[in-house]
Amino acid sequence: MDLLWEGLIEAFRLIGRFDPLVMNAAWRSLWISLLAVSLAALVGIAIGSLLARCKFFGRGALVLLFRAGMGVPTVLIGLVGYALLSRRGPLGPLDMLYTPWGIVAGEFFLALPIIVTWTHGAISNLDPRVAETALTLGANTLRRWRTYLSEVRMAIYLALLTAFARCFTELGIAMMIGGNIKYRTRTLATATAMETSAGEFARGVAMSLLLLFGAMLLTFAIARLMRTEEER
């Protein structure tokens, strides 16, 4: 217990004086997750909408595939990413292994199924009068799509926040594709694991606290969003 308590005090000290190692890992975790989720949102919202509104052969199988993708362990994505991006892999020439861009690519595939599945579910369950009303009022395909997204925006916000939380706190992809290189690819999650195993317990707790702080911020953001939407 003392160890944990001392770790907490040391953690606040490190955060208070903006320890460069801690801040560097925190900043990297933040921008990598934000970029991965933004890219996944661009692709995932479009795929989710198409799966919800267009009928084509194999649609059901694709929906199932994305649903299953939400439960894929991050180490598996990391392993596949490593195999693809390693020098002998098909994507080796891109030279993305052990770079932040490699982690972004891996986290993209972590966030994508979450965003696709939530968007598909929300639009599929939309009141059928939304489409009929938009259609009968003369909305073209693009405007109808914007209307669907507007009507389900709460679900999409939640999907984005959930995807961000998954990416921000994941360990497997950052460890296997990023390689946990100091000041290059180290994230909060990999730093926490490494510092703790190296006996730097206080630093590990500091990293964990930042992860916890990020998760709490997200929870507040979700609660705030839900309240704002309820008022509308």
């Binding site: 009303t133 009022l137 003369g138």
Partner: protein
């Protein structure tokens, strides 16, 4: 020669063009093997305001949906001489999009590329005619049933469609509301209006009525 229209209720006589806007013959819609709407013959000319009469489950709403182009799976002939964009259907329980009343009323005009100032002016004008212009910046979640109904009607009216299909437009309205909405419907020029509505309809709301009763084993549609 200007045609006159036979009337069941106390209604105004309105000249209409000869060419039928809607022509249906042996129109039948089946769901799970049961006929839910059957109209042996229906002809409506442009400019008419027709009230569709029938009991619960007689297929009034289904008929309106077929005419609106929202229901494609039917037997028989159903010809509507307007583009789908020129038909507007208002649901029995209208759906209003998230946002303000003004956003909702101007939605169709925005979809047609009408400039913001022009569409807002039109939306305000129709909201005023329907007695709800004070609600323009109100969020739709804060509207009563009658207010929602009037907003949905204003949204349809400001498009001036050639064919307006209204499913129970007077539901949820109080006496004053019924009077206001009826006057607004009666003022629509060059628009054919079909109303599925409870009996009795207010005087002057329709130019004639059509009765349908499509439940299997019951008398087929009859026309005035």
């Amino acid at each position: 020669m200007k045609p006159t229209i036979s009337m069941r209720h106390n209604v105004t006589v309105q000249p209409v063009s000869e060419k039928p806007l809607i022509a249906a013959k042996d129109l039948a819609v089946k769901k799970q093997g049961t006929t839910i709407c059957h109209v042996p013959e229906l002809t409506i000319t442009a400019g008419e305001r027709v009230g569709i009469m029938g009991g619960n489950g007689s297929g009034k709403t289904t008929l309106l949906r077929v005419l609106a182009g929202l229901e494609h799976d039917h037997d028989g002939i159903c010809q509507v001489a307007t583009e789908p964009r020129e038909r507007v259907f208002v649901h029995q329980a209208p759906y209003l999009m998230r946002g303000t009343v003004l956003f909702n009323v101007a939605y169709g005009l925005a979809a047609r590329g009408v400039a913001t100032a022009e569409r807002n002016a039109s939306a305000h004008s129709w909201l005023a005619q329907l007695g709800v212009d004070q609600l323009d910046d109100r969020r739709i979640a804060n509207l009563s049933g009658g207010e929602r109904r009037r907003v949905a009607l204003a949204r349809a009216f400001c498009l001036s469609p050639r064919l307006l299909l209204l499913d129970e437009p007077l539901a949820d309205l109080d006496e004053a509301g019924i009077e206001t909405v009826s006057a607004a419907i009666a003022s629509l020029e060059n628009t054919t209006v079909l109303i599925s509505s409870p009996i009795p309809l207010p005087d002057g709301l329709v130019t004639r009525t059509v009765s349908i009763d499509s439940i299997e084993g019951m008398p087929a549609a009859s026309l005035d």
